[in-house]
């Protein structure tokens, strides 16, 4: 047992924090809300130069060969600064499945471009049912000679507006789901940005007879849901790390405000109603931190746990939202304004909650695990 970061990890954290504070200040984040692309290509290039996109890709694909835990703490820093960029989407949602399930051909073809920041990728999974159950996948991929023909609608696809490629989860038979790598420029794809409150460039993507070569199947035909499970069981921890970083920053903001703001001749943080609120948030954020690290470490060391990952996501959903709500409450009316950075975080909680499963979804997954689990006291 040892909860210390390695020297390399400390370096990742420090350099990421400095980089993001400098290169992506809050006013830039505000600008990007109104920007059509929703990210800054120049900043994207500099991130690639930092080696972030290839952080955990092997060197043969132009990566740095670090591990899942290292990526986790980098994501935490991005969450802390709510970096508006398709990083999670490209790296976590797409490059990791390719690394895990891709043919060596596919890896060689796609991963270096991701590592170098040349390509933006995203995952097209959810549909109007807005569900993460296999039954939610209705988009049809029909076999036609060397191709599949895609027909249907994907919803809440992050950054599809700027993506070069999409990882599309489609139904290839009644029971079979298949993951396909699709060129975003393919004929028949129509992408429209959905007006979300957070202005975070989630898209509706309509596939109208889109042809995809069969070579572009990722993993096995009919077994695409395994890839989604891979995302749900492992990659979601990276989203949780991002949420943890956000929650930590919001807590710090609220805590500073409670020390500065004076009412009735005292800092409001000296009133128990405020102080205890903050203390409860603090406890939960600390708990979330350890949970995220535990899950990430397990994945890093090759023993991922379906149960633990769902626990982490359920917890992250609750903690991030509550931290923001309590943060706004501590601020009072000022917390309600656009000018306060808190709103940048708060407005994004809904997308984070939804991404890879909301709380009810993961509670059900936990319950499914508990249903079969053999308690210690019965097993000895």
């Amino acid at each position: 047992m040892d909860f210390d970061f390695s020297e390399d990890q400390v370096m990742i954290i420090d350099s990421a924090r400095k980089f993001l504070e400098k290169e992506c200040p809050k006013n830039k984040i505000r600008e990007l809300k109104e920007d059509e692309k929703g990210y800054d290509p120049e900043l994207w290039s500099r991130m690639a130069e930092m080696g972030w996109m290839g952080l955990i890709l092997p060197e043969e694909y132009e990566g740095t060969g670090m591990d899942f835990f290292d990526l986790t703490i980098l994501m935490e820093e991005m969450g802390r600064n709510i970096l508006p960029a398709p990083f999670f989407d490209t790296v976590a949602l797409c490059s990791l499945p390719i690394l895990e399930y891709g043919t060596s051909e596919q890896k060689k073809r796609f991963l270096p471009k991701i590592a170098c920041g040349e390509e933006i990728w995203t995952l097209a999974l959810t549909e109007p049912s807005a569900s993460y159950e296999p039954s939610g996948v209705e988009l049809r991929a029909t076999s036609l000679q060397e191709d599949y023909v895609l027909e249907g609608t994907k919803l809440f696809v992050p950054y599809a507006n700027v993506a070069d490629r999409l990882l599309v989860v489609a139904r290839t038979s009644q029971e079979g789901i298949t993951a396909l790598i699709v060129d975003a420029g393919s004929q028949g794809i129509k992408t429209e940005v959905i007006p979300t409150t957070a202005h975070d460039k989630q898209c509706e993507v309509v596939f109208d007879k889109v042809r995809v070569p069969k070579d572009n199947v990722l993993g096995e035909v009919g077994k695409g849901w395994e890839i989604v499970e891979f995302l749900l069981q492992r990659v979601s921890v990276l989203k949780c790390a991002e949420m943890l970083g956000g929650a930590q920053f919001v807590l710090e903001m609220a805590n500073s405000y409670a020390k500065e703001r004076v009412q009735f001749d005292k800092p409001i943080g000296s009133f128990q109603a405020i102080q205890h609120k903050l203390a409860e948030v603090f406890i939960n954020v600390e708990g979330l931190r350890r949970l995220v690290y535990e899950a990430a470490w397990n994945i890093s060391t090759g023993s991922p746990s379906r149960l633990l990952t769902s626990m982490v996501k359920a917890k992250a959903n609750e903690v991030y939202q509550q931290t923001c709500i309590q943060g706004v409450k501590v601020h009072g009316a000022i917390g309600f304004t656009e000018e306060l950075d808190l709103s940048l975080y708060f407005l994004r909680t809904k997308a984070s909650e939804f991404m890879l499963g909301d709380t009810g979804f993961h509670r059900e997954r936990i319950a499914v695990e508990l249903e079969d689990y053999q308690p210690l006291f019965m097993s000895v």
Partner: protein, 399 residues
């Protein structure tokens, strides 16, 4: 004991329902708290104010001489419930016009003030719209600490300072302004006065304070050598605190019904929505709905109790704070449950009226993003709980 409304109230209820059916667009779902934000919606709200005035409902509780109908508190309650359930816009004439500016003027205003301002409010015309300016950057919960200063110079007062969180200032024709007239008063509460200010005066700057969903509800208002005729002082100089405390009572009759009506509509919408998409069949969801239904019924009768006490001539002390805390809890639960029910769709911007993916007219998202704002609008929960503790339970001061 009698839990039934009288015939008069039931008749009024029916009339309002007929009115809404005729006057509101089909499927109308109110936008609450944000009608000031959008020009088109504001125009619609003003058109409704006018119609409500014609019906005699807008200021129904006022005496007839000032454009009212001398309606009872119970009629007012019914009106508030219904107006809020159906989402009739334009019922408040800005912030406070109907609820406390009018009644305060009746109590403390000069004959000239009454004759000038009351009919304007009662008419439902844009010239009767008010904003209320109390809070300042360093005087929120601790209101006695206001620093905006009015100094008498001959027949005028010269006002300098800044207000914040002034809702509807960008729509208002008049401002109901609290200022310091005696900064050296032994107790800070003793040096406060209230003025009527013409928003067209020189020396006023209104700066929008957009909220985080992009709605223009709040403003900062700056006063820079604003000159106000001494005749615009309401009541006695330095007596403002007591007048304001008094006037708080006036809105109480309408608040209970307004909150309940709004919440009831949301709950009804959620019930219908979940019945439609099958979510109601999930025990967790339907029990949460059931539980909120219990809270709403409780809110209803608690609010009635407050009105009943007022109807007996008692001045409610802690009850409005109690009702507000209770309402804040309900709003929070409705907001959480509503967005849980909407799931991924709760991400849609409630201001994107025409997005095909919007559910329930964006109402749940609006509530989710605004419930904290409602909560701050008339004092934070901490402040309200202090009042309940001090006056309801007679506990010692805790702040």
């Amino acid at each position: 004991m009698d839990f039934k409304f009288g015939e008069k109230e039931e008749k009024l209820r029916k009339e309002i329902r007929e009115f809404t059916k005729k006057e509101l667009p089909p499927g109308w779902l109110s936008s609450m708290l944000e009608e000031e934000s959008d020009d088109k919606e504001w125009a619609f709200a003003m058109s409704m104010s006018k119609k409500l005035a014609e019906k005699g409902w807008l200021t129904m509780s006022w005496p007839e001489e000032y454009g009212g109908k001398g309606a009872s508190l119970w009629e007012q309650l019914v009106y508030s419930e219904e107006a809020s359930y159906w989402g009739i816009p334009g019922v408040t004439m800005g912030i406070g016009g109907v609820d406390w500016v009018g009644p305060s003027l009746m109590m403390f205003g000069t004959a000239e003030q009454k004759n000038k301002y009351l009919p304007l409010i009662a008419s439902g015309e844009p010239d009767g719209i008010w904003c209320t300016a109390y809070s300042e950057p360093n005087a929120g919960s601790d209101f006695a600490k206001i620093r905006t200063r009015a100094v008498r110079e001959g027949d005028e007062y010269v006002i300098n300072g800044q207000k914040i969180w002034t809702s509807a200032a960008h729509r208002a024709r008049w401002c109901w302004l609290a200022v310091k007239t005696d900064p050296d008063a032994a107790k800070p509460h003793n040096g406060i006065s209230v003025f009527v200010v013409d928003m067209k005066s020189k020396g006023i700057t209104v700066r929008p304070l957009m909220n985080y969903v992009g709605l223009h509800i709040f403003n900062e208002v700056f006063f820079d050598d604003l000159r106000v005729p001494a005749a615009n002082l309401v009541g006695k100089e330095n007596n403002g605190w007591y007048q304001l405390m008094h006037s708080l009572g006036y809105e109480r009759g309408s608040i209970a019904g307004r909150c309940y009506g709004y919440n009831k509509r949301i709950l009804d919408e959620l019930i219908v929505y979940t019945r439609g998409n099958g979510l109601f069949r999930e025990r967790e969801i339907r029990h949460k709905l059931a539980d909120i239904a219990v809270e709403l019924e409780t809110q209803k009768v608690l609010g009635y109790e407050t009105v009943w006490k007022m109807s007996k001539g008692d001045s409610p002390v802690y009850e409005p704070s109690r009702d507000k805390v209770f309402n804040d809890h309900i709003l929070e639960r409705l907001a959480m449950l509503g967005t849980e029910i909407l799931g991924g769709y709760s991400q849609i911007d409630p201001l994107s009226r025409n997005c095909k993916w919007t559910k329930l007219n964006g109402h749940m998202e609006k509530l989710f993003w605004l419930f904290l704002g409602f909560a701050f609008a008339a004092g934070t929960d901490e402040v309200e709980l202090n009042i309940v503790g001090q006056f309801g339970l007679k506990l010692p001061k805790s702040y």
